[in-house]
């Protein structure tokens, strides 16, 4: 008799995704789906997809979802959660969506201590539109709209969203994680799970920032992209728990 040790989570549909080779969206989708299965909350989970590469996330997850206007997912999630306070509500947003056009919405959702979780995918670039500079693009990083490298004189410095939101009383749990290897995936999963658990306990706003690669728009092979994430991104965006108001000091 054989035992099945590894299978697709119920909360993830058995369909091919449109994501590029070497992109982390697939891994992150799977982690979220696994946690929702483990917490047995598939029946009352409501997700909010952004505008960006993960705009079609609702085609891959197996629970109720919304597509939101660019940057507005935290406002949509606010409306949803106020109507269904017992649901598990999360937004899934990229860096252009969350840190540029949707900056007001994420800041005020956190300030109001809205009881939902944001999964923030930071790959330092606009993916879907084909590789433009994001608020999180690193200094000297070349993109299609910073072809000579991001210059702080003209474009300012990259924003560390998690640290910024940590200053707000309403945010209770903020962590920055990566999924570039098995150890980091395990840590990421633990953090996302904790954020969901805190939400289900009725606590305030939580966000998990996941550093991700974009080999296509970074102009790298997938393995080169992993190295770039480790050598360039992590030093500027340090991994770890940024804020945990629930820990007894």
């Amino acid at each position: 008799m054989t035992e099945k040790l590894f299978t697709r989570p119920k909360s993830l549909l058995d369909v091919p995704t449109h994501y590029c080779p070497g992109c982390y969206h697939g891994i992150i989708h799977r982690l979220i789906a696994e946690i929702i299965d483990e917490l047995h909350v598939q029946d009352y989970t409501i997700g909010i997809a952004p505008v960006g590469c993960s705009v079609l996330a609702y085609d891959y997850f197996n629970f109720d979802m919304f597509g939101a206007a660019h940057g507005r997912a935290p406002a949509v999630a606010t409306g949803v959660k106020r109507v269904h306070p017992d649901a598990l509500v999360f937004t899934y947003q990229g860096d252009g969506d969350l840190a540029a056009i949707g900056c007001a919405e994420i800041v005020h959702a956190a300030a109001r201590a809205e009881k939902f979780t944001t999964i923030f995918i930071n790959n330092a670039i606009y993916g879907m539109t084909g590789g433009q500079m994001a608020p999180t693009t690193l200094l000297s990083q070349r993109t299609n709209t910073s072809p000579y490298g991001r210059n702080s004189e003209a474009c300012g410095h990259p924003i560390r969203m998690s640290e910024m939101l940590a200053t707000l009383e309403g945010s209770i749990y903020l962590a920055r994680v990566s999924v570039h290897d098995a150890i980091h995936m395990t840590k990421a999963k633990r953090c996302i799970r904790k954020a969901f658990e805190l939400q289900l306990q009725g606590k305030g706003f939580s966000m998990i920032e996941v550093l991700a690669t974009c080999p296509t728009n970074w102009g790298m092979r997938p393995l080169q992209a992993v190295e770039w994430l480790k050598s360039e991104m992590i030093p500027y965006y340090p991994l770890g728990i940024i804020k945990d108001s629930t820990e007894v000091k």
Binding site: I48, A75, R82
Partner: protein
């Protein structure tokens, strides 16, 4: 009861428990009223960080199955148009109140009807329509706010109440409707699977052009149904009228007094008052064109609704226009003189 408060009470009676807004004159009293009343009925009042956020909260609450509303005034409504387009595209029911003020830009805070185009022609991007209701009294603010929630649910469409600062501030007696006990079944809402097998997805994205065209055809079909079933208007002394005034909202009240005066002077003037600005009472106006000699559209704008009057009349009769802008409200005497000028054959502005 004050106009702005009447809207709030009617919404609560209709079963709305989720209000999302942002302060802007001259509708702030409605937001303040909801801030006080919603907690008393176990509802949610939320002051958003912007009009953009407020309309997206409405998108979320409506998509999650609730009766929900927002309110604002012209510059704030401009900001909401992104969300309204998404709501129309995703076919979500909601009520949007626009207490119109003068524009363009920051304009003024005085009453205006210069938002007719953005209310009735869509307002945001894409081919869509809002149902637009234009009350002209506090009682009608109550009645049509209440109706707006039913129409929104019935057609899964945004409904806009177009008022103005004068109506919002007006104090008149009004009878409130019975509290709505009926809950509309919304099997499409994204509220958690709860045993349902297929996830409900609320969105407006169709990457395949053929699917998007099908979706648009479906919306257009719905708009046709609304045009067939939901046109509302009021006629006043149109039976024998040689001149028919077309006016809505606060302007129709001034026009009515001017018409009474003209009637007393033996002038055969009547009025058709559109109550739904979209769908517009085009057929009723077309029929009146068979009987009357001319039309005069009166508006607090440079002439927006008059375009729909001309489309309805389609050249069969001359269509004249008189309007004031910037928050200036014409006097009864002023409108009376315009009517007399047109009916005396001295013409007026607008006809070619």
């Amino acid at each position: 009861m004050k106009g702005n408060e009447a809207i709030g009470e009617a919404a609560i009676a209709a079963g709305c428990r989720y209000y999302f807004g942002y302060p802007i004159t001259p509708q702030t009293e409605l937001a303040e009223y909801m801030a006080k009343r919603m907690p008393e009925v176990a509802g949610v009042f939320l002051q958003a960080e912007s009009e953009i956020a407020a309309i997206n909260m409405v998108y979320g609450a409506a998509g999650a199955g609730a009766r929900t509303m927002t309110s604002s005034s012209s510059p704030g409504i401009s900001l909401k148009q992104e969300g309204v387009s998404y709501i129309a595209g995703a076919e979500l029911p909601c009520v949007i109140v626009n207490i119109v003020r003068g524009g363009p830009g920051l304009g003024s805070i005085q009453p205006s009807q210069a938002d007719y185009f953005q209310a009735t022609k869509g307002g945001g991007h894409g081919d869509y329509r809002n149902i637009v209701l234009a009350p002209n009294s506090v009682q009608e603010l109550v009645d049509y706010t209440y109706l707006a929630f039913d129409l929104a649910d019935q057609y899964r469409n945004p409904v806009m109440i177009l008022g103005d600062g004068a109506l919002g501030q007006m104090m008149e007696p009004a009878v409130l409707p019975e509290t709505n006990q009926q809950v509309t079944d919304k099997p499409w809402a994204a509220c958690g699977l709860k045993g349902r097998r297929k996830p409900n997805i609320i969105n407006s994205l169709y990457l395949d052009p053929n699917r998007l065209e099908q979706h648009n055809l479906h919306l257009q079909h719905k708009y046709q149904l609304i045009e067939q079933s939901e046109v509302r208007y009021e006629e006043y002394h149109t039976e024998d009228a040689e001149l028919i005034i077309i006016a809505y909202g606060i302007t129709s009240r001034i026009a009515r007094t001017a018409i009474e005066k003209a009637r007393n002077a033996g002038r055969r003037i009547g009025m058709l008052r559109p109550i739904t600005l979209w769908p517009f009472p085009s057929r009723a106006i077309r029929e009146l064109a068979q009987k009357t000699k001319a039309f005069l559209a009166l508006e607090l704008s440079a002439g927006q609704m008059v375009e729909d009057v001309k489309l309805a009349v389609n050249g069969a009769r001359p269509v004249y226009f008189y309007g004031r802008m910037g928050g200036v409200i014409p006097s009864t005497q002023e409108l009376y003189e315009q009517m007399i000028q047109v009916i005396s054959g001295e013409g007026g502005k607008g006809d070619d």
